[in-house]
Symmetry: C2
Subunit: 363 residues, 2 copies
């Protein structure tokens, strides 16, 4: 059994290895924080803004909303944002003139990611965009091109890349702790309320695969460093309440990677279930459950013949703090983000292949 | 949170519901125990014989082995079996005359299950056969017919059907604790040493799917009471050491049931990994991990909006004790076993369909 002390050492090693800032230990206080404009003031942006308030490296300095007099005024008051820095979707492009804004955080419905990434790039602002990157690979390419042309950075909000427990898992695998990788199982299951924008094909671009299935998909791509080539999928919509007239309720799928690693994954917008991964190797394995929650990520398994068990101690919104600080650091140091636009594009190509295998075209 | 006391109540209810004997509380001591002949004295039979020694309802009264002078004499000494009740595969049919033998326990390689079930039935003995029932659905049908003609009972050794933690899970689902069932994920992963009979196509009839994949397959069939109709599968053999020249190393597959329930499952003979299931419903879910181990089955999840967490307390070989006693009770009371031959046949039909979907025919 590897104890807490050994894990603390491992954690420190992991952080050094990953070259990422360690939450709560940042030493950037002498520099002015990176200013973010939050675009779309829904649940996820609320969390992101709360995260920035906990950081000395990131600060929300502008808001973009369809409700400037209500939501805009409310969040401006909460975070000390001048009223002149509240924009609507119509006035958004004027943000080019706002020197307090270095970057935007896009927390909009999926179908709006492309347009606002392109407009932000054209306004000369760096872009931190929520996952899924967009609703098609064509849109993803457009976003990458726009940011490249404007010479701004583009990062996709894969928050678990910045979670220390996930980083430990990645480090264990990378250092051979489970031997040659053999297979992966993962899933993320939840309920979406009737009327949610995620249940609209036009806004979401697809169903649970776009928003939840992307987690295990990205995890195994991230772990292997490979792109899957063979896909099978099965979709099901048991519920006839009317919630699932445009997008699938539930999906399970398999993938094979060029190395021979195989995976099965699943997701749902219409069931309760865990978020989990099993990462199985020749000599050991890791289980994470919950794996994709905002906090409480729980890692256990068998490494080097020993049982390990580690519960993440960070609390919501700590993953968002780490994410916001990572991108701030990339902007300050002119480095490429760990989860750039290309990562979002690769996931979208796989998502399109999975929908095709399921016989449910994304378009 | 449902506490231990509530779970004890639930457990008592479950046992009452399932109509199965409760381990350690049996009241059959006034009757002569059912006499089993153990056929094949490998690892699994060793466990089964050890289990019978812990029971007042079951007793090993004869042995069938290719090594009568070594293994035969050893186990005869351990369990007080007369030397006249040690048989070889050649002399086996004489067991018809042994009145101390009511039933046989078949712990042979998969390819021998059919022959010894038929010969046991013809000798007038009841049959408790290990899973997988055989190596083809044609063999399964032959076994069912032979037992029916001989008017003997046939049970397949699906040991987790008799595990109290599994019975709790089944009871929770059956009483609507997770609402309408939506999806299932499960797997069982392990390493087989070079030279093991399970790596021989001739003896095993197939690879990991036959011996390990059958666990999640049987679990979701058992839970839904339905037969899967749509299958996809992916196989992989990364290892080139020579272990996997006849059977697959690893497999992941999906299934869809007529109700719309979907499942993804996996198994391997060449990796370390957990044994697990997720049972996801409209209103709650159950996770078991480990799910298919000999003991320590761990159940947790969300039932009625509350978190539950329960660790099985039985120790190896308690599942085998419960299994041996269940069949003994069926014989005494002239009842059908909870896991009859038809259950083994249905799994074999699904296994054949999975191999077909994988492009790896079983024959």
């Amino acid at each position: 059994m590897i104890g807490r002390r050994d894990f603390a050492k491992l954690s420190a090693l992991t952080l050094a290895w990953a070259g990422l800032p360690s939450y709560g230990q940042n030493t950037y206080t002498l520099q002015k924080p990176i200013g973010y404009a939050a675009i779309g003031l829904g649940t996820i942006s609320d969390i992101f803004m709360h995260a920035c308030a906990q950081s000395q490296m990131a600060k929300v300095t502008a808001l973009v909303t369809g409700h400037p007099d209500t939501k805009g005024v409310k969040y401006a008051g909460m975070y000390g944002i001048p009223k002149t820095s509240i924009y609507t979707y119509e006035t958004f492009d004027r943000i080019a003139d706002n020197k307090d804004v270095d970057a935007v955080y896009i927390g909009l419905p999926n179908s709006m990611h492309c347009e606002y990434t392109v407009r932000a790039a054209q306004a000369g602002k760096h872009v931190l965009c929520e996952k899924p990157m967009a609703i098609s690979s064509a849109e993803c390419r457009k976003m990458i091109d726009a940011c490249r042309q404007a010479k701004v950075k583009l990062m996709i909000g894969y928050r678990v890349h910045y979670d220390p427990t996930w980083m430990q898992a990645i480090q264990i695998i990378g250092s051979g702790g489970v031997g040659q990788l053999e297979s992966f199982q993962g899933g993320f299951y939840g309920q979406q309320p009737a009327g949610a924008w995620r249940l609209s094909k036009k806004l979401g671009g697809g169903g649970a695969l776009m928003d939840l299935g992307i987690y295990p998909l990205n995890a195994i791509r991230h772990i292997t460093g490979e792109e899957p080539t063979d896909f099978t999928a099965v979709v099901s919509t048991r519920e006839q309440s009317g919630r699932f007239t445009e997008v699938e309720q539930s999906m399970e799928w398999t993938m094979k990677f060029p190395s021979g690693v195989i995976a099965s994954c699943g997701c749902s917008y219409g069931e309760r279930g865990p978020s989990f991964v099993n990462i199985n190797g020749e000599k050991g394995y890791l289980v994470m459950e919950p794996a994709f929650h905002y906090d409480g990520v729980h890692l256990h398994g068998e490494v080097g013949g020993q049982q390990i068990d580690q519960l993440g101690t960070g609390k919501l919104p700590f993953q968002f703090v780490l994410e916001a600080e990572h991108f701030a650091n990339c902007i300050r140091s002119n480095k490429e983000p760990e989860s750039p636009g290309e990562e979002g594009l690769k996931d979208m190509l796989a998502i399109e292949a999975i929908y095709k295998a399921a016989g449910a075209p994304i378009a």
